[in-house]
């Protein structure tokens, strides 16, 4: 597997961009992982972005660089499903991050009148499922991991459609689905604002590296292999198994 990876492509929010990190371009987990794998890196991580941006940046990359489809590893740091993208004509792309800054007019209205947890979580799951289909079609190797914990409420998890969608997600690619995140992996190595520090980013990179070289994972042997649920059940959180 490792010899088949010629390029690392990453995307995510501030946890992937290395927000507030000294010399972020060198010390963020994406950069550390690229050195561990000895391959060049393209990192689309951008502070404050939502999952629309995370997925779209990768799709756009492969559209403009189709030759990268066949020899790249994509690693995504997924962010909170409540972050919805808007294009602010003055500021550019913004997302609905609560309590982070003085909200713009539309963000305030969004949270007050147009936010629905179930609606947003279903959209998130559909996005993941569509991305799986996209990666599968192009035989692109990928891994996903939550940047920080974002637990949906038990009401949302109890929804019948949500349950069906979760069962559709390939847990061999989406590491510790909604159960363990970069934040918990890097804890307590964090900056004052909760983002990982240099040591925290190293731990995140180590975790991805272990997952990639772990011979028990199905994609170690082939460029793209069908996951084996028996072999990979350890990656599935307990609460999910009981659904």
């Amino acid at each position: 597997m490792l010899e088949n990876i010629k390029k690392l492509i990453t995307s995510g929010d501030s946890f992937t961009a290395g927000y507030k990190l000294r010399d972020a371009e060198t010390n963020c987990w994406a950069s550390v992982l690229s050195r561990q794998l000895s391959v060049p890196l393209t990192n689309y991580g951008r502070q404050g972005m939502g999952n629309d941006y995370v997925f779209n940046s990768v799709i756009d990359h492969f559209l403009l660089n189709p030759e990268d489809k066949y020899n790249s590893l994509v690693v995504l740091g997924l962010t909170n499903f409540t972050r919805i993208e808007f294009f602010d004509k003055h500021l550019g792309l913004i997302t609905t991050i609560p309590n982070k800054r003085r909200p713009s007019e539309i963000e305030g209205m969004f949270w007050k009148k147009h936010y629905d947890e179930l609606y947003c979580y279903k959209n998130f799951l559909r996005h993941v499922i569509k991305m799986q289909g996209y990666f599968l079609q192009y035989k692109i190797n990928y891994l996903m991991l939550d940047a920080f914990p974002f637990f949906p409420s038990s009401e949302v998890i109890g929804d019948v459609l949500v349950k069906s969608m979760i069962m559709e997600i390939d847990m061999t690619r989406y590491l510790w689905f909604n159960n363990r995140s970069m934040s918990s992996i890097s804890f307590p190595n964090s900056l004052d604002d909760g983002h990982p520090n240099i040591a925290g980013h190293k731990l995140i990179a180590d975790t991805f590296y272990e997952a990639i070289v772990d011979s028990n994972l199905p994609f170690i042997n082939h460029l793209y292999a069908i996951p084996d649920p028996e072999k990979d059940k350890l990656l599935i959180p307990d609460w999910l198994k009981n659904l």
Binding site: D52, N56, I59, D60, L63, L64, F86, F87, D88, K89, H90, L93, E105, I106, M109, F110, K113, H114, Y115, D116, Y119, K122, N123, R126, I129, K130, M131, Q132, G133, Y134, L136, Q137, Y138, L161, S164, M165, E168
Partner: protein, 219 residues
Amino acid sequence: MSTQFNKLIASGCSFTSGYKLEHGKESTWPKLLGDKMSIPVVNLSEAGRGNSYVFSSIIDYFMEYPEEKKSSLVIIGVTGYHRQDFYDSYGKNFISTVPEFKDEASSFIESFWKRYYNDEYYFTNYLRSIVVMQEYLKSNSIKYLMFNALDTNRILQRNLSELDQKYIESINTEFFLKMTMCDFIGFTPKSVLDDGHPSELGHKIMAEVLYANIKTIFD
């Protein structure tokens, strides 16, 4: 063809839902097409909704009925790229940013159009969502056909970025009709209602056009 598919699943906007038709969904193109193909129809379309809903409704349907993936034909009437879906938590309803409804728009939609609408951004999102949806359908072995329901003059007249051009080239045109529903039904007084939506004749023409295309593509 009738033996290949056991069900027709359709989704779209008002052009598929039969908005303002006297007999509603009973005289829409999905129903007429299903009758021609002698198969039952599930019409998931809703007037006023955006493509986020249109595509999501198909994905959700197959979440509930995964056993129908391989035996169904999905037909999607793609709607305008400017329509974005939002949830109205007060009315427990869904709204979309239909510019034609600006006069009765909420302050949220007013604000969206005034300060947060970017034509290039939403056009690229629209193209990307078609490509990703096609890959989803293909990866699930779901047979499908898409077409633009609304007039695409705005699309054809625009200056395309390199990214947009590449997305357009990436769309699998084998399963995406080049002409729009507006082109097919011709917009003669008899084929459209006063408000521009297809009449019963318009829906009948569309069913015939789709039937001919399905025969060519899938037989």
